[in-house]
């Protein structure tokens, strides 16, 4: 009998480390077009295969194949491509600005641009996203928040609508359906469920879209969100961005070994999909499917977006310390921008020249926005929101003790 076997602690490891190339077979990919598309009123249990498979539309030749091919015009696709390019350029310019100490800190979304860009196309005005710090593409894909305004937040300058209170990237734009970011990971996930419940309580038609990283799924608020969303059939899309890493830890440390994050949804009674997050068409199509479920009183959908965090965790991080430096180049799902570009070229709706022109245009746009934002100041030049404003908004009306403290500070 095995009874006297000595126990040992299993500590999961990534298949690659600095000096050892990653073996990406752990990802268990399905070919493009291989995974079925059930009707939106499917049961959670029936999505088991979709939670372990991988919904993909774009094949290696840039063709859109299979049941998840969405109806979408080339014009919209070009808009999507532009959103992704804008996000990438925005990130890279902000990173440079951070190195120039114009920003105290920055977090880019390199490699993950398709997810927010395509998802935002599936939402409607009035819906609310509850993002993490890596969903800037949700904002950059739409036009209701200017880049200048975003950059003012990043610079904590006098134009910052958050009055300098928040770390860079902790945006809040209610009017654009973008919930205030918290520095504490995962808290927004259950809040999104509450927001969706509120819409249902009021008999409205708005839905919520919740965002979380693979690593943060280990926080209680993730599971609690699944429980509440299931119990009350909340109209919410539960997005898990599995970019394989959480700072220095591999997704297996969050529980991704030998299972998927989508499978957790199924276990909780939630219809769940695992989707190629670097495939703009797959993201759009799966997002629409989930949004329609939510709007039809069919309750929550969990979607695991499989992607790769191509850059460092943040401007304070150096990933070459814990993973192979060339990992992204070898990631089997490729670069979302290159893939949509190839598709557009494949359907004769795009060219290299147009692509380059668009990139240049967007770059100029970002550069101009940065310049304008800088005119409102930065931490460097001290043109920051007043110290006096520090005491506001703690309460709706300032209580006596805060008046007194403001006086003490002499501002």
């Amino acid at each position: 009998m095995s009874q006297d076997q000595v126990l040992r602690l299993h500590v999961p490891e990534p298949t690659g480390r600095p000096g050892y190339k990653t073996n990406f077979s752990y990802l268990c990919l399905s070919p493009a077009g291989a995974v079925r598309r059930p009707p939106i009123d499917t049961t959670a249990f029936e999505t088991s295969d979709l939670a372990s498979g991988l919904v993909r539309v774009l094949d290696d030749d840039g063709r859109a194949v299979g049941p998840w091919v969405p109806e979408i015009t080339p014009e919209r696709l070009r808009k999507g491509l532009r959103a992704m390019i804008k996000t990438r350029i925005f990130d890279s310019r902000m990173l440079i600005a951070q190195r120039q100490k114009k920003l105290s800190f920055y977090m880019q979304s390199l490699g993950e641009e398709a997810i927010g860009s395509a998802h935002s196309f599936a939402l409607q005005p009035g819906d609310m996203c509850f993002p993490t710090y890596r969903q800037q593409s949700l904002l950059l894909a739409r036009d209701d928040v200017s880049m200048v305004e975003m950059i003012c937040q990043l610079m904590s300058n006098e134009g910052d609508s958050l009055k300098g209170r928040q770390l860079p990237v902790m945006y809040s734009y209610k009017r654009a359906g973008f919930f205030s970011l918290s520095g504490n990971v995962a808290t927004q996930f259950i809040q999104a469920v509450g927001w969706g419940m509120a819409s249902a309580i009021k008999g409205d038609t708005k839905i919520a879209s919740a965002w979380i990283g693979d690593g943060a799924t280990a926080e209680a608020d993730f599971d609690t969100a699944l429980t509440f969303a299931h119990v009350y059939r909340a109209p919410v899309i539960l997005n898990v961005v599995n970019n394989q890493w959480a700072i220095s830890t591999f997704q297996a440390i969050a529980g991704g070994e030998a299972t998927t994050f989508a499978a957790r949804g199924v276990g909780c009674g939630i219809a769940s999909l695992r989707v190629d997050g670097n495939d703009f068409l797959a993201v759009y199509s799966a997002s629409l499917w989930a949004a329609e479920r939510a709007r039809s009183n069919l309750g929550p959908t969990l979607i695991e977006w499989v992607t790769y965090r191509a850059g460092p965790h943040s401007s304070s991080d150096d990933p070459s310390k814990y993973r192979p430096a060339d990992d992204w180049e070898r990631f089997p799902l490729g670069d979302p921008i290159a893939r949509l570009k190839a598709h557009l070229i494949q359907i004769d709706a795009w060219s290299d020249a147009q692509h380059e022109q668009m990139s240049n245009e967007v770059d100029a746009e970002v550069a101009a926005a940065l310049k304008e934002a800088e005119s409102y100041g930065s931490l460097l030049d001290g043109k920051i929101p007043s110290a006096s404003s520090m005491f506001e908004d703690v309460y709706k009306d300032m209580p006596a003790h805060l008046h007194q403290q403001r006086q003490q500070l002499g501002v």
């Binding site: 209170r165 504490n184 808290t187 509450g194 509120a198 309580i201 608020d221 429980t227 509440f228 309460y395």
Partner: protein, 353 residues
């Protein structure tokens, strides 16, 4: 109670009152607010069909439907987390934590989220939530049905912390809390649910029906936040307290014959500093009383405020009477509870110093 500061709905007419227990008064507050404002919703563990383990929400589901009063999973974090989301949507959730002892799983959502949402979003989103929870001992509840965690909340900027000591205040403060645009921690001394309690467990229980403070208007009124009540006027010294300890302090004053002025804070934080300072400057002596454990309890903040604002009027060290720095034991409940004997001894020390 000497001052009954409150805002009646119709200034002119005398409102119809009924004798209510604290439970009935709290229920009436939610009932009034649910009727007035359809964004007010109520949920929590066992609060829907059953009406709550202390029956505070009894009847609300039947009256307002399952969308506005419902049962929640046993997840305090989920309850407060969803409430933050609902508040961001525009609702005014009033949620129940079954016992204050069980609030800790919701701590992150309270401290990092509800309390900070307005600030971090510069007013873009707000969290007008009321989090009700029974607190305090005296019912042989043992260490996880007896706690008084108010001090922790007072250390969190952005929160309001409130604790009533009688049915009239309970209803008026709860309505004010629901209407308030900040998140409010609303602590209900469970030992006062059915009657005042002077700290003598051996004496017969007095029901609220015998007490004038149980005469509660049936309709809308508020007891404003940040306003303390002079529960008992006196000249010898000032007792700063709230919740059950208001009654215990009164008993101690009577039993020692010391003419104590008892201030019932009602709003623990932000508080009514003026009433406190005026009283202490008048009496020159101060005793702070609460049931929570002593160290870093809210009593410490009260002592600090008093010594900062009344230093030159103080004739004796400020005394603190509080729960011991141990968990609330089951069998030794009455050795733990800061009863009239311990409060009385502190009053005497303060007078003799």
């Amino acid at each position: 109670m000497l001052t009954k500061s409150s805002n009646m709905e119709a200034a002119g007419e005398t409102p119809k009152t009924t004798s209510m227990t604290m439970i009935q008064a709290l229920r009436s507050a939610m009932d009034v607010m649910m009727a007035r404002n359809e964004n007010v919703i109520v949920y929590g563990q066992d609060v829907g069909y059953f009406g709550g383990v202390f029956r505070v929400t009894d009847g609300l589901q039947a009256k307002y439907g399952k969308s506005r009063c419902f049962d929640a999973p046993i997840s305090e974090g989920g309850i407060v987390g969803t409430a933050v989301g609902m508040a961001a949507y525009g609702l005014r959730p009033v949620v129940e934590i079954q016992f204050a002892d069980y609030v800790y799983p919701a701590f992150d959502q309270i401290v990092s989220e509800a309390a900070r949402l307005r600030y971090r979003s510069a007013g873009d989103f707000t969290a007008p939530i009321t989090i009700r929870m029974p607190c305090g001992g005296g019912i042989y509840g043992g260490q996880t049905h007896s706690q008084s965690p108010e001090a922790m909340f007072t250390h969190v900027c952005g929160l309001r912390t409130v604790m009533p000591s009688n049915p009239y205040d309970a209803k008026g403060l709860l309505i004010a809390s629901i209407e308030n645009d900040d998140p409010v921690i609303f602590l209900e001394p469970k030992r006062l649910y059915n009657g005042p309690f002077d700290g003598h467990p051996d004496r017969p229980v007095v029901p609220w029906s015998k007490h004038p403070m149980a005469e509660v208007p049936e309709g809308y009124y508020t007891v404003p936040l940040e306003s303390a009540a002079v529960f008992r006027a006196g000249k010898d010294l000032t007792v700063l307290t709230y919740g059950t300890m208001v009654w215990v302090s009164e008993a101690a004053a009577i039993e020692t014959g010391i003419d104590a002025e008892i201030i019932d804070l009602r709003s623990i934080w932000p508080l009514d500093l003026k009433t406190i300072v005026e009283s202490v400057n008048k009496t020159g002596r101060c005793v702070v009383v609460h049931e929570a454990t002593r160290t870093s309890g809210f009593g410490a903040e009260l002592v600090s405020l008093v010594q900062e604002h009344c230093f030159y009027h103080l004739e004796a060290p400020i005394e603190r009477v509080a729960g011991w720095d141990t968990p609330y034991p089951h069998a030794q409940e009455w050795a733990y509870f800061p009863g009239p004997r311990r409060v009385g001894a502190a009053l005497k020390r303060a007078m003799e110093a």
